[in-house]
């Protein structure tokens, strides 16, 4: 009989291996410089037109990668990266984000009207079909939204609809349906929200609020995630667990069929394998890992195949407001801002990042083009240290927690060296991802590296989670900022439907409370991937929601 200790060792080895394996499942760390971005923008503008899809050539299969199996494509449960990058091609809601991520386009709603008080939103649906051939009706939308809200669905995005009148009564079981979602006729949906909210429009473009066929959900039950019946440009083809997922062109898509016959996402976790597959022409688009950057960027033939996306990712250091010495000492936080050499880091990232001076990512409403990141100025940083009361540096070393990603740890070694110059010693604590998240949510850290991708393309998607006092403890306010003035500006920005007013509110946040740096902005990421020469009309998405209905293959 084998001794139990052996089993234990076997399990321990398995767990240890799992814990050390490369963390490829998350969007690659920082990326991008500036020159080719101009070309990318032009290409994006052409491809993002909302007119009918036009295809110089139709047919073929586009082969892409995902780092792990999305598991479920049920719009209500979409949350992780591999779900987001695939699902957007299968599902569609009332509105949708343009491929370049800059505008919100009509999706299944032909028109949208908002009442002057901003509370009643009326949508006229266009003639559209589900993948099973049945017609999309307003009833399906009501069903879909209530399904997301229903606690039994355990949707990670139910909070997006919490603002609808009657949502609370529904989730607590006091009402059988949500009174604020009314079907006035099969093609008209009327949504009443309890307080005005401009960002609601961006939320409605989220794949989580896409329509699902009521009949199909009732038929598939718990297996709906693997048998989705939705109304996006591609319908579910074969799906081999942990191996590949295929989407086939939905020929009855309301905006005419996609150019491709199909898209196949292969599960390839290893970034080197992806490049090997790209070189073998088995993969049509892949992210460029640092080791291969020179080879592709240094050669004019391959350089023109690179696609640059200025993503809506921003990376920060979050300072825990509840802890000394950083929490209460703005001058100390500012000293760190000037001590960090962002240009050195951008260089180490091969130019695939832009130094950040704001919380908000460029490309979103209210982004101030004149904002400047803190320059690398050691003298000024030292002066601020003196002002902060630490002329000889900090007496104790400070822990910085971050996920255990090699690329990120290397960058932090640069910060570590930078901060030594002003007498601040930091210990890097790469922390297993789930534990890291737990520590962030509980405020169990002094300094934490974090990144934020907004859940919807609106400044509210940054400010509300990061800075509003109700977002403390799990809602995204990692720095635990409690500032009534900031709360008020965020609420005003949320409630106003007037863009000019919103810009004023949000810029006031950046100029005021955010200036004291509860979050120290580090970088806006630029995502660069490379396509095969025959892949045409591909646009990178700043929200990681790449859409392929207008992509065609020239071969």
């Amino acid at each position: 009989m084998m001794r139990p200790i052996k089993y234990f060792v076997a399990i321990a080895v398995l767990l240890a291996l799992a814990a050390c394996a490369a963390p490829a499942a998350v969007p690659p760390a920082a990326q991008p410089t500036s020159v080719p971005a101009v070309q990318a923008t032009t290409a994006a503008a052409e491809a993002s037109t909302s007119g009918p899809i036009t295809c110089p050539k139709t047919g073929g299969e586009l082969v892409l990668f995902m780092s792990s199996d999305p598991g479920s494509l049920d719009p209500a449960v979409l949350a992780n990266y591999d779900q987001t990058i695939t699902a957007h091609n299968f599902v569609e809601g009332l509105l949708r984000l343009s491929p370049d991520g800059q505008t919100i386009e009509p999706g299944l709603a032909e028109t949208m009207q908002v009442s002057p008080d901003g509370l009643t939103w009326t949508f006229k649906l266009r003639d559209a079909k589900f993948h099973d051939g049945s017609t999309v009706t307003a009833d399906d939308f009501k069903f879909s939204f209530e399904r997301v809200l229903n606690p039994a669905t355990k949707s990670p995005k139910a909070w997006m609809l919490q603002n609808i009148a009657g949502a609370e009564d529904f989730t607590s079981g006091k009402a059988k349906d949500v009174s604020g979602i009314k079907v006035t006729d099969p093609k008209t949906l009327e949504i009443t929200i309890s307080k005005p909210m401009a960002a609601f429009k961006s939320m409605l473009a989220s794949p989580n609020l896409a329509v699902v066929s009521k009949a199909a959900v009732e038929k598939s039950g718990a297996d709906f995630g693997q048998q989705i019946v939705t109304a996006g440009p591609f319908k579910l083809g074969t799906w081999n667990l942990n191996q590949d997922l295929t989407g086939t062109a939905f020929t009855e898509y309301w905006n005419s069929r996609p150019c491709l016959d199909s898209i196949k996402w292969r599960v390839i976790q290893d970034e080197n394998t992806r490049i090997v597959e790209y070189d073998a022409r088995n993969l049509d688009i892949t992210w460029v890992p640092p080791a291969h950057w020179e080879r592709f960027n240094g050669n004019p033939d391959t350089q023109k195949l690179l696609n640059w996306a200025r993503t809506f990712h921003t990376e920060f250091w979050a300072f825990n407001s509840d802890r000394e010495p950083f929490g209460k000492n703005a001058a100390l936080r500012q000293a760190l801002c000037y001590a960090i050499d962002r240009e050195a880091v951008v260089a180490s990232l091969q130019g695939r990042a832009a130094a950040a001076g704001t919380i908000l990512s460029p490309g979103l409403l209210s982004y101030n083009k004149d904002s400047q990141p803190c320059p690398h100025d050691v003298a000024k940083a030292k002066a601020l240290m003196t002002e902060a009361g630490f002329p000889n540096g900090l007496p104790n070393a400070i822990d910085v927690i971050l996920p255990p990603w090699d690329n990120e740890v290397k960058i932090h070694e640069i910060y570590q060296a930078n901060l030594k110059d002003i007498g601040v010693n930091i210990n890097l604590k790469p922390t297993e991802f789930a534990q890291y998240q737990e520590q962030l949510n509980k405020g169990d850290f002094d300094i934490a590296w974090i990144y934020r991708v907004p859940d919807y393309a609106d400044p509210d998607g940054f400010y509300y989670p990061l800075l509003h006092s109700t977002s403390i403890d799990g809602g995204g306010n990692i720095a635990r900022v409690k500032d009534a003035e900031i709360d008020k500006l965020i609420e005003d920005g949320r409630a106003s439907l007037d863009d000019a007013q919103r810009i004023k509110d949000y810029q006031a946040i950046e100029a005021g409370g955010a200036k004291s740096l509860p979050y120290l902005p580090l970088f806006h990421n630029i995502y660069v991937d490379i396509r095969q020469p025959y892949v045409m009309n591909y646009v990178d998405s700043p929200m990681d929601m790449h859409m392929y209905q207008r992509v065609w293959l020239d071969k």
Partner: protein, 307 residues
């Protein structure tokens, strides 16, 4: 013998339940709140709480534990948090692919390792030395690096084999991952074979065989190998458990849709039912392999008898 095997098999469910308990407790110690992970970063505390209730996480831990074990005893591994599909049905898709890869790799390793071991033990000392250096080298190479080299050589330069992927089980796609997994094991088995043969080659019965004029090949295959096979089988068996650990890396690199990658994803998403399911299947495989090795001892060596 039959009785022995039955008794061992009867113990399996209890060992597996024990394993499940250990994993369950280990997972409780891990930080990371599954309800919070499911509810998403924007969720209100009330929503998180309602999810916690539905999943039964609000129950006292002993109650959760008993519930879990009683489901397990009925063969219900629960539903994956991530895909919300029954874990068992997912594992049944993936597990055979992992086993296929492991067996093919082990087969290659045994063939190559034993042949090299025999060569090393019976040829000139310089051959022995060269082969043993190779064997140490193969044992010390990191798997991910080895995998990359093989990919570059066979898929990029020679274009003989696909760099990664899976197709119908036994297809050319299995060659590279299987060879990668087999190389360290083959190196190890070559050493064991060499050492085991060396012991017997100096023994009295071999001298007698030589003395009566038997050919060296006949001595090796007829007299020495049958004696030397037990340590080799034992090494091959224990090494199979190590090979399972290597599968985690190899599956990730070669995009092999097996259970190793599944376990990795489950751990990073705190998908507890999926993780426990995967570990139980790994554990059961190790148990079976060990039983097989023990039975094999009895078959090849009549002096070993089980009661």
């Amino acid at each position: 013998m039959f009785e022995y095997v039955v008794r061992r098999l009867l113990a399996f469910p209890f060992i597996l339940l024990g394993m499940a308990s250990v994993i369950f407790c280990l997972l409780l110690l891990l930080p990371g709140d599954p309800a919070r992970l499911m509810a998403g970063p924007g969720a209100s505390a009330q929503v998180v709480e309602s999810i916690r209730q539905q999943m039964g996480f609000d129950q006292p831990i002993p109650v959760q534990f008993v519930n879990y074990l009683s489901n397990l005893a009925r063969g219900d591994l629960g539903r994956s948090f991530q895909s919300r599909r029954p874990v068992l049905s997912e594992i049944l898709i993936l597990y055979p692919k992992t086993i296929l890869l492991a067996l093919v790799a082990e087969l290659i390793a045994v063939l190559v390792g034993v042949v090299l071991g025999i060569l090393a033990a019976t040829r000139h000392a310089s051959v022995n030395y060269a082969l043993m250096v190779l064997s140490v080298l193969s044992l010390s190479l990191p798997l991910f690096w080895l995998a990359l080299l093989l990919q570059l050589l066979f898929a990029v330069d020679l274009r003989l084999l696909p760099p990664s992927g899976y197709k119908n089980g036994l297809d050319i796609y299995i060659i590279l991952p299987a060879i990668t997994l087999a190389i360290p094991t083959a190196g190890y088995l070559a050493r064991v074979t060499n050492a085991s043969l060396a012991t017997f080659l100096n023994s009295d019965f071999v001298r007698t065989a030589r003395g009566k004029g038997l050919k060296s090949r006949r001595i090796i295959f007829r007299h020495v190998l049958p004696n030397a096979v037990i340590p080799i089988a034992s090494a091959a068996g224990t090494d199979l458990s190590r090979l399972f650990a290597g599968i985690l890396i190899v599956e990730a690199i070669f995009g092999w849709p097996g259970i190793g990658k599944y376990a990795y994803d489950a751990l990073s998403h705190r998908d507890i039912p999926a993780l426990i399911g995967a570990v139980l299947f790994f554990g059961a495989s190790v148990l079976l392999v060990n039983l097989a090795v023990d039975v094999f001892y009895g078959v090849v060596n009549p002096r070993i008898r089980y009661k």
